[in-house]
Structure formats: structure tokens, C-alpha cells
């Protein structure tokens, strides 16, 4: 592991550029009223981390309750509220905006050579909507919580529970519009703001992945919005669209809900896949194998993602033929996902691989996402789904994809672009340790849940038969390790803001346009509009650039 590609400027003379987007203006208002995509990304990063730790604390409570078979830490209805709020906060306030709103916001204009996103005010508005939704969600939690599960399933949510369904729904509704505006902004920016020479197939795969995710945000989110509106009308006025006593069909709610919420998992994972494409190329010093296939596989995931929603409803009473069709379509999603994994693996082949922290997280992503994805095929198979659905197998499956996949990718991305965002390196050794701790903790937490699920332990219960205890103890112990793994980055990244080594423009020797400018970048990113005259991930071009620079300085 001695090999490294990190090349830092001479620390005795190097300094952070005096003029950059952080120092340009001072004071709280200059941040709260900013139109700069980089500053908004940082606002998002801070608020997202806040919600992540609230959601994480709730997860800790869940695992603590499940340490013993009895309900001893909290009453069952409290437990229901805790896992509901864990889901609502993690999905709507962390996973959906995580990579797009922070890294995507920061990097898309830089990567395509633009000065900003196309609609800076809409970008700021989306952050304010996010905060408004988040405050509402926290208020909901403080004022008694909600216990429907994050799925708001009718008729439970409309007729039977007396908790804060309306405010939680409104929080999700508002957060949904935040997400729509982010996606809309990305689509317009990618179409209209690319610099000269930046053709579609010269864009970094990070941008392609965000483009695909944005299509999902824009087309799927409004459907859950209207479903939430109908729930609200049902609860307040008593209209009968989902009420079987009046002739309405509760299944229709699930169709509308999953029409968003299944694509939503691709909204969550696609930007993460974009991060992995960047890190895997940089740390193997090779162009991503099958660039075009990886680019199109993102779009294919987005398109297929719209036609698989009913696999969440195999046991809900949809027709056998629908099960057959949706099962087949679900299998199809595995194809573009596999294209990505295989192409990344081929990128590694004969590459000069180094093991900096982002690469460790990347390896974590590839392994865990593969397990998560393959168990998804189990669940897409109608027969096994009937056995496994509503058990801990489901919980393990989506946590492998979302936490093992997306969160690993998020951390890979945060570490990878940290020098660009702040101008300083994070401390390498301890962050490698944190990556390893996260990986170990993750597997301890969630792998036992696969076994629990196949043994038949149902999800969403505060108590369970005593024979399941040993595996639950494993899982809870793992969650503790995982917690340490997530706390460490907060500590050392904060430390690095002041004491980290000066990173210089391009510490990773990466090829993206964002690495060719100063770190942290200027407010308008580029002093001269860049012209893209080479393919993405062209390491020869980078060598020539460096040679030229040396020659001109000499």
C-alpha cells in the first residue's frame, strides 16, 4: 500500500488561494442569500449531516430495543414511531438529496465548464424548501411522531392512526419539491450550460448519472406529491379515493406511492454510482472501461426504474399476471446494474491501483452493492418474495444497497472532493481506518439480518422470539462499530479544515475539469471559459498538460 498517486504542493511554500468562493464574502447573510452553487452545496452538506445524525440516533434506538427479545427500552407504539421517523428522515432528508444536492450541486457546473447552475435562485429555493420540510419533520417528531412507517400505507394512515400523518406528509411533500427543483436545475444545466467542446460523450460519468437521476426526480416525485395530497384530503375531509367503504381502492394508493418510491431508490443510488465511476478511474489511472455502456446504463436504470414499482406489492393482492410482468421487468434492472459493476471491474484490470480512502470506500461500495443488488433479484422472484417479504431479509437488502452502497459512495465522494471543496487534505491514515471500520461494522450489522429474514423474523416489531436473539445481538454490536465509523469522519474532516495539508489544484492527478482549477475554486469557477478538447478520463492529455506547464515555467 506504499504506492500513492497523491501529489501535494511543497507544504512550506503552498498556501490556500486568498480569493476563493469561501472568502469572497463574509457573514451569515452572504451564505443564506447566496446564489453560488458551491456555497449552496455546503449549506446542504451541513444540514444533511445534521439530519443523518438524527436518523442515525433513531437507528441506534431501534438496534438497542432489538438487543433483547422483550420490549424493554420503549413501548411498542414508541418503537413504531422511532422506525417510522428513522425511515422518513433517512429517505427524504438524507438519501434522496445526499449526493446530488451536495456533490452534484458543487461539481456539475465545474465538470461541464459552467459558471453556475442554470437557475441559481431555484437552487437556493430548493435548499430552503429542504430546510422547511426538515423543520416540519422534526416538529412532527417532537409533537408526538407518526407510526405508519415511511410508506403512509392506507387505510392505516387515513383511518386508523391518530398520529401526525398530515404534518409528516406535508414535510415529505415539501422535501419532494426541493428534490424536483434540484433535478430540474441539473437537467437544464446539463443541456444548456456545457462549455465549448463538452459533447454528451465527453462528460464525466458522474454527470451522466446525475442526469439520469434528475429525470427520475422530475417525473416520479410529482406522483407521490399527489398521492400525499389525496391522503391529506382523505384524512381531513373524508373523500373516498382510497377508502374501500366508499368504493375507493387502497391498492391505488400503493400504486401511486411506489410509482415514486421505487424510482426513488434509483434517485438515491444513481448519483452514488456516478461517484464510483470517478474514483475508480482516478485510482486505477485508466479511462472507465466501456464509457458509453456505463453512460447508457445510467439512463437504462432510470427508464426501467419506472416499470418495476409493483414488485413492492406482490403479496398485496395484485393479479398474477401483473406479478409475472413486474417480476420479469425487475430482473431487467439487474442488467444495467451489472453492466456498471462489470465495467468498473474491467477498469481495475491492469490499472495502477492505489488504495487511498475514496478507493477503499469504492471497493466497499462494489462488494456491498453487488450483494444488495443480487438479493434484490431474490426479492424480484415472485416465489421467494412471498417467503421473504416483510421480513428482515428486506431490511438487510435495502440497507445493503442504501447504506452499503449509497452511503459508501457518499463518503467516497466526500473524501475524494474534500481537497477541492476545502483546499485541504483529510488525514489519510485515520480515514483509511474509518473506511475499514465502516465496512466491518456494516457487515456485522446487516449481514445477520439476511439470516434473520430467511429464518422468518418479521420487520417492524419491537419484540421477537428468543431464538433470534444471538443474531440480533450481533447486529446491534455491529451498529455500534458502524456508529464509530461514521463519527470519525466528522471529527477528522472538521480537524482538517484548519490543520489539513494544503491540497493544491489536483492532488489526485485526476482529469476532470474541476481538478484543473484552484482549490477551493473561485466564485465563478473559471477565469476563462474552458474548452474541452479531449475525451473524459484522458490521462495522456493530463501528462501532456503537465509537461507543457513545466516547459512554460522553465
Amino acid at each position: 500500500m506504499s504506492a500513492t498517486i497523491v501529489s501535494l504542493p511543497d507544504q512550506s511554500t503552498a498556501r490556500i488561494p486568498k480569493v476563493n468562493f469561501i472568502t469572497k464574502e463574509n457573514g451569515l447573510l452572504s451564505w443564506l442569500l447566496t446564489g453560488d452553487h458551491k456555497r449552496i452545496a455546503i449549506l446542504y452538506l451541513i444540514s444533511l449531516s445534521f439530519f443523518f445524525f438524527i436518523g442515525g440516533a433513531l437507528a441506534g434506538l431501534i438496534r438497542l430495543e432489538l438487543l433483547t427479545p422483550q420490549t424493554d427500552l420503549m413501548a411498542t407504539d414508541t418503537y413504531n414511531k422511532v422506525f417510522t421517523m428513522h425511515g422518513v428522515i433517512m429517505i427524504f432528508f438524507f438519501l434522496v438529496p445526499s449526493v446530488p444536492a451536495t456533490l452534484g450541486n458543487f461539481l456539475i457546473p465545474l465538470m461541464i465548464g459552467a459558471k453556475d447552475l442554470a437557475l441559481p435562485k431555484i437552487n437556493l429555493l430548493s435548499w430552503y424548501l429542504y430546510i422547511a420540510g426538515g423543520i416540519l419533520a422534526i416538529y412532527t417528531m417532537a409533537s408526538g411522531g407518526v407510526d405508519t412507517g415511511w410508506t403512509f400505507t392506507t387505510p392505516l394512515s387515513t383511518h386508523y392512526v391518530n398520529t401526525n400523518v398530515l404534518t409528516t406528509g406535508l414535510a415529505a411533500f415539501i422535501a419532494g419539491f426541493s428534490s424536483i427543483f434540484t433535478g430540474l436545475n441539473f437537467i437544464v444545466t446539463i443541456h444548456k450550460m456545457r462549455c465549448p467542446g463538452m459533447t454528451w460523450f465527453r462528460m464525466p460519468l458522474f454527470v451522466w448519472a446525475h442526469y439520469a437521476a434528475s429525470i427520475l426526480m422530475v417525473l416520479a416525485t410529482p406522483v407521490v406529491a399527489i398521492a400525499i395530497v389525496l391522503i391529506a384530503l382523505e384524512r381531513t375531509i373524508g373523500i373516498g379515493v382510497f377508502d374501500p367503504t366508499k368504493g375507493g381502492d387502497p391498492l391505488l394508493f400503493q400504486h401511486l406511492f411506489w410509482f415514486y418510491s421505487h424510482p426513488a431508490v434509483y434517485i438515491m443510488i444513481l448519483p452514488g454510482m456516478g461517484v464510483i465511476s470517478e474514483t475508480i478511474s482516478t485510482f486505477s489511472r485508466k479511462r472507465v472501461f466501456g464509457y458509453t455502456a456505463v453512460a447508457f446504463s445510467s439512463v437504462a436504470i432510470a427508464v426501467f426504474g419506472f416499470f418495476v414499482w409493483a414488485h413492492h406489492m406482490f403479496i398485496m393482492g395484485i393479479s398474477n399476471y401483473a406479478v409475472l410482468v413486474f417480476s420479469l421487468l425487475t430482473m431487467l434492472v439487474a442488467v444495467p446494474s451489472a453492466i456498471k459493476i462489470f465495467n468498473w471491474t474491467f477498469t481495475l484490470y491492469k490499472g495502477s491501483i492505489t488504495f487511498e480512502t475514496p478507493m477503499l470506500y469504492t471497493f466497499g461500495f462494489m462488494g456491498l452493492f453487488t450483494i444488495g443488488g443480487l438479493t434484490g433479484v431474490f426479492l424480484g422472484t415472485a416465489g421467494t418474495d412471498i417467503h421473504l417479504t416483510e421480513t428482515y431479509f428486506i431490511v438487510a437488502h435495502f440497507h445493503f444497497v442504501m447504506v452499503g452502497g449509497m452511503l459508501m459512495a457518499f463518503l467516497a465522494g466526500i473524501h475524494f472532493w474534500w481537497p477541492k471543496i476545502t483546499g485541504r487534505m483529510y488525514p489519510e491514515k485515520i480515514s483509511q481506518l474509518a473506511a475499514v471500520i465502516t465496512f466491518i461494522g456494516f457487515n456485522f450489522t446487516f449481514f445477520p439480518q439476511f439470516i434473520l429474514g430467511t429464518l422468518g423474523m418479521p420487520r417492524r416489531y419491537a419484540s421477537y422470539p428468543p431464538e433470534f436473539q444471538i443474531l440480533n445481538v450481533f447486529s446491534t454490536a455491529g451498529a455500534t462499530i458502524l456508529g464509530v465509523g461514521y463519527l470519525l469522519p466528522v471529527l477528522y474532516l472538521t480537524w482538517s479544515l484548519k490543520y489539513g495539508a494544503i491540497a493544491g489544484n489536483n492532488p489526485w492527478q485526476a482529469t476532470g475539469l474541476e481538478w484543473q482549477i484552484q482549490s477551493p475554486p473561485l466564485t465563478e469557477n473559471f477565469t476563462v471559459t474552458p474548452i474541452m478538447d479531449h475525451e473524459a478520463y484522458d490521462y495522456e492529455w493530463l501528462e501532456n498538460q503537465k509537461a507543457k506547464e513545466v516547459a512554460s515555467v522553465g
Binding site: A118, I226, G240, V241, K246, L252, H255, L256, I531
Partner: protein
Amino acid sequence: MSDSTAIAHDAHAAPDHGHGEAHPTYLRHHFENVEQQADAAGFAMWIFLLTEVMFFGGLFTAYLIYRNWYYPAFVAASHQLSVVWGTTNTAVLIFSSFTMAMGVWCAETRRRKGLVLSLCLTFLLGLVFLGIKTIEYSEKIEKHHVPGFHYNLSSFLDPDNDAAAKAASDKALPLDMARHTEVYFSLYFAMTGMHALHMIIGIAILGYMIFRARAGAYTSGHVTFVENFGLYWHFVDIIWIYLFALLYLISRHQ
């Protein structure tokens, strides 16, 4: 200063940025030129309308399903709506789309008075639409056709004592089908209510635009806002045309 240099290309670096014609004041700093700015804003509006299509799409899906299941109930319930008011409202909205289109044309050809007049007319027609909608809603409230606790089935169980049902020579529905009229009215209020909400937002923005247009804001070349609002207004109009056909005219061809 190597640390703040973008990829500088010696030969064709720095195109004539800063030379040539002066940039108009409304050009935002991050766009290269006015065309790019207008292009981006228009494109963004179309994408936004796409999300609106999906938003209403959920309601249209629900309508499609329930209309197929409960067709007799939907026919009987739709007879409770006034085709006269519905047609009038459709005409009002189509005319308001015309005045809005005139407004966009006036902004593009820099006619300030024409723009203010067109916007005012659109504003008034929007209010007329909402006024007629209020009359229709109040009829529903009087007859207890609002879904919920007070919903009343007598119009469908005993059509001979109901003027609207009698006029359409409806036959009495069996009780379980009659109860499904409530689903029709649920969708009626959800769909027209969502549409009316979009009208109210549109009228509020129109008020703001009239205020700005009087000061000459949109007649000096920067017409993006008016054009995009025009798209929004036409979109809301088109939604109504679908609602009119689907809710009022279910069985009128028979």
C-alpha cells in the same frame, strides 16, 4: 497565479468575451449571452410543466380506473354538473389563453399598453372562471354532494325528486352503485380543486406582472418571464379542457 488559471488554450483561448456588443443588464452573470439565458429558462419551464403533467397524471389515473369500475355511478353523478356553466367556463378560459397569447406578443413587440391591457383582461377572466366555479361548488354544497360525513345519496336513489337527474331522465341506481357516486365527487373536487389552486397561483402572479408591466419591465427586450408564464397559463387551460370533457361530458354523446 497558476492556481487560478482555467485550462488555458494558447491558440483559441478567451473568445471575444467582453468585446462586441454590450451585455444588457438583465443578463445574469453565469450565462454567456442572452440567447443561452432565454433558452435555459424556457427549457426549465417545459420541464416544470412535465412535472405538472405527472402531478395531474396521478389523478387522471385514478379517474380512469374508477370510471371503468363504476360507470353508471359516474354517468349519474356527472348529470349533477351544469354543462352550461362548464361550457361557459371553458369559453372563458380559452378566451383568457387568447388574451395571454396577445400579452406575450405585446411583450415581444414592446407594446407596454397592450401588454398591461392583455394581462388585466387575463386577470379578470381568471377571476370570472373562479367566480363561476364558486357558484358550481356552492350548488354541490347545498345538495350535500361534497364527499365526507354529510354526503347525501338521494339524488341518485330517487332521481324523480331531483331536477338535474330528472332533466337527464336518470333511472334510480341500486344502493351499492349509488354509493360510488361519492368516488366521482371525490375526484371531481380533487381535480377541479387542484386546477383551481393552479388558477389562484396564476392569478396572483398575473397581479404581480401587471404591477411590473406598468413600470415597463417586460417591454425592453427581456420577455422570458412573460413567455414562461404564458406557457403556465396555457397549461392550466389545457388541463381544464381535459377536466371538462372527462367530468361534464361523460354520457352526453348518447
